[in-house]
Symmetry: C2
Subunit: 338 residues, 2 copies
């Protein structure tokens, strides 16, 4: 891989990113002051090496997954975000009015709009949250709401209908017991300790302890399940020329609707704070897309932002956009964690 070959590969990847059409030898003649035949020879080598592919024997070349990977690792220049892109994002942070999580959503919406890719924001993994308190609010004689609050400020609530059998005061009493015993417990351990530690206690003090126990159990269980997904520009990616056939389009649309699958985007936790790029089969999501992802941490809340595009995605641009957002989030965190 001498310099010229690198440059040719780089050029091919980048023009394919731009045009979405297989690139032929003639297209590069001018750029390199070489004849098409020479370029063809180089292309043949690059294909041999596994970086390029052909759709059929007489078509132009298309980067393979290995080609993109090589491009991303060795060829891509770390460009700064462009002025106009920055301008659009700046507005969001400038006002400072938005809550941070809303600001993130908004950012990803803008990124989706200007790039025609789809973004996801995965938040509130509720890991690292500890129980602060649970309160019972009586709505009326037969309905109560249990409000669970963590030390990271996440709140979840659930309404229950209690028959005549349960006295509201017993619920409140139980909530106080729970608060005394379990405050500070990691939220995903609460249901376990509720059973092992609290249940025996209330068994002695509360008449309908079984029902009461179930209510709190449900309330906590709901909390653990809670994790938020926000998809921005869900259909934008379909404007990419690769989605010009129905079955492909439907396939991806269904994946974007599959919560469990989307959540996997945040998995694989090595090199936590780096921007990670998953090209095609490198992620479980879909062999035909690239996912570029960054994790963020604000006030102990952890989340992931990711952009989903075709493999022929504008890597440079997305990386620089995500870096910019991360920078901004960092600075806001210091100044005012709102």
């Amino acid at each position: 891989m001498d310099a010229r070959r690198n440059n040719i590969l780089k050029e091919i990847v980048e023009t394919f990113i731009k045009t979405a059409k297989p690139v032929g030898s003639k297209a590069l003649c001018d750029k390199f002051n070489l004849s098409s035949a020479t370029i063809r020879n180089e292309m043949a080598v690059l294909e041999e090496l596994g970086y390029l592919e052909k759709n059929h024997v007489s078509s132009g070349r298309v980067p393979s997954e290995a080609g993109y990977r090589y491009y991303v690792e060795h060829l891509m220049e770390a460009e700064k975000i462009t002025g106009s892109d920055m301008l659009k994002l700046q507005k969001i942070f400038a006002s400072g009015e938005l809550e941070l999580s809303d600001a993130i959503n908004k950012c990803m919406e803008i990124i989706s709009d200007i790039t025609n890719y789809t973004s996801v924001v995965l938040g509130k993994n509720s890991k690292d949250n500890n129980l602060l308190q649970v309160s019972i609010i009586a709505i009326n004689p037969t309905q109560v709401v249990a409000v669970v609050c963590t030390d990271k400020g996440n709140v979840e609530n659930k309404m229950f209908n209690i028959g005549d059998s349960i006295n509201i005061n017993e619920l409140i009493k139980t909530s106080e017991i729970i608060n005394k015993m379990l405050a500070g417990t990691p939220i995903d351990e609460v249901s376990v300790r509720l059973e092992s530690d609290v249940k025996p206690i209330i068994k002695r003090q509360i008449k309908q302890y079984e029902t009461v126990y179930n209510i709190f159990y449900d309330a906590f269980n709901d909390f653990v399940a809670g994790s938020s997904i926000h998809i921005a520009g869900r259909n934008n990616i379909f404007n990419q020329p690769e989605y010009n056939n129905i079955s492909e389009l439907k396939r991806l649309a269904n994946k974007l609707d599959d919560t469990a699958l989307i959540e996997k985007v945040a998995e694989d936790d090595n090199d936590e704070n780096e921007i990670k790029i998953f090209i095609g089969d490198e992620s479980e999501f879909d062999p035909n897309v690239t996912i570029i992802r960054k994790k963020y941490h604000i006030n102990g809340e952890e989340g992931t932002i990711a952009v989903i595009g075709p493999k022929r995605m504008d890597y440079q641009r997305i990386v620089s956009l995500l870096e910019y957002i991360d920078e901004k989030l960092d600075s806001r965190k210091d100044e005012n964690g709102k």
Copy 2:
């Protein structure tokens, strides 16, 4: 419109609903023991009347919007829900474990799955909710959560970063004042009365009253905005044969992503409790779909469930399914509003 003509129209609509292919005269010969020529004559009349259309001069007939409307109003037989459909829905209500709003979502998901249409559940219009109480929970010295609870059991919460300037006790004191003064106030009037009634009071008692006021204002404002949309089987409708071309598919996909547009499905409040059918242009949503919708009220919470399908939708089936759900919801409400 004599009986025979009605029957022919009915037959045409129903076979088109089944097959999605324009129906020709021959297809009806056997059903009516008439020659194709006679059927053709009748069809010509029905076309004259505006109930049928042709795609081109020598194609079979397709119901027009007016045709569907006529069918729905005069021809469609109110059939009972089929046994197998009922079975699938029964399971949801049988266990009784699910919270009612979850049960509704689940129902619509099942309906979407068995019919290949898309459903929406619009909930928590927060109209008719009155303030029960607002509480302040201190997370740590600089962060608090405001929890707003209504008499219908809806809860909303919002975290705030308070600088050193604000004393948490002042917030708690203010919350007590608000509870005393505004409990019972319709939730969408609270922010107004907060300004007119409460602000003057706290001005005298609270040092940083301007900031404190803003916090509560934000908390209540968030509440009013909250209304939930759940889309079930978002992509199912794309399995309908009418969505065999990309642009049509994208167009609808974008509409299903347009929150404001979806919310309009619940608008137009006459005959509140009837199942309403919007065929094509009859709704603002999209000229090429039919929307069948039903409002529900449970414990004062109001919501809308709707099924979105092609105009060639199985009207009978959807109507009977929605009726069944409504029935079930009604009975659950009486027995136990959970």
